[in-house]
Subunit: 207 residues, 2 copies
């Protein structure tokens, strides 16, 4: 397998994964790059090029085996492994993410939720207890947590990120509107909602 | 002003806007491309190239006037205008977005919230009433709504998007995990959270 896959291809893989998952659920066994192209509004040559990175999944005159391709892309994305998560911030966004069952179905298990607000501590979200921030470090160590989800304001996020780095967290899914300064070996995936809204606003100009 | 700005530059503008806003709030009057480069971890030549698109904001030996540049980028992003929004889906994510005061500060005013769940209808989120879905179309027409925020499951999102198109909505901020089929003149900005989580998962492989 070609392991030098460009970030552009990687960015497109989850979308392939979503469409293939839907086809699989509908009982579709195989699909040609032309059919997939019409469904996804991407050129067939783009699809062939992207999927060629992962070796001979497509066969001339047969097309792609939907389940195989779905499973292979899942493996490439690391979705065949289980991950242990904590959510930091039990406000609306933290609750929304904690309630989202699809994450769990894909191997992302939320084991703990943390908040500094004593009114939220002790609450349960889908059987997961909200604990005080003081317990975060020991919880990460004891439970071998890989991923921290940050749904707190940017003013607190910078300090909490320092604690996470000290606790040897592997990855941070960051919803705080700030760029976190972490060592290179800590993965940060940002979701900056207001930047998304600004892009929408830009595209609305003159309409 | 150069109006043929690439989408790559547009994608970077919100980040400039955020940093300049923070500098402005700290009382910084001017900044060189070198200083901005160190702050943002982007090369100074990238900054000069990006900001040159918008005409002579920078002056040799002086740098950029922070407030001017902030205001100009804000105008380019359309943030000097007010937008009227409805949020469709009053679940946790809809509540989180409705409660986010920063959107309002930037001219995005949420006028209505809609949900099909009768238990949520009648509830108020920051003084905005949650109304039943049946009232969505007439509300959009009466209140001249530009933007609909979709925080409902993908199964309902496809149908609701059809209603929105019929109501002449200009833009959809889509959190449902589905690609919406809308006419070309309707802007769709997607936030696919599970795709973001999959990218994180990909980058975690082997760690």
């Amino acid at each position: 397998m070609d392991i030098n896959i460009s970030q552009a291809v990687i960015r497109r893989l989850p979308r392939y994964y979503r469409y293939l998952g839907e086809l699989k659920d509908e009982g579709v066994l195989r699909i040609s790059s032309r059919e997939l192209s019409e469904l996804m509004h991407v050129t067939a040559s783009q699809i062939r090029q992207d999927l060629n990175h992962f070796g001979g999944f497509g066969q001339q005159g047969y097309g792609y085996n939907v389940r195989n391709l779905y499973d292979e892309i899942g493996k490439i994305l690391g979705l065949d492994k289980n991950h242990k998560l904590v959510v930091i911030g039990a406000g609306h966004l933290g609750q929304a993410l904690s309630n989202y069952v699809n994450f769990e179905r894909r191997g992302f298990h939320i084991l703990g939720i943390f908040d500094k607000n004593p009114d939220l501590v002790g609450m349960k979200i889908r059987d997961v207890l909200v604990s005080p921030m003081e317990e975060l470090e020991s919880f990460i160590a004891t439970n071998d947590i890989d991923i921290a989800v940050l749904t707190i304001p940017k003013t607190s996020a910078v300090d909490v990120a320092k604690t996470l780095v000290k606790s040897n967290i592997k990855a941070i899914w960051n919803f705080a509107h700030v760029d976190l300064a972490v060592p290179d070996d800590v993965i940060v995936e940002n979701v900056h909602l207001s930047e998304s809204l600004m892009r929408l606003s830009y595209n609305l100009r003159g309409k």
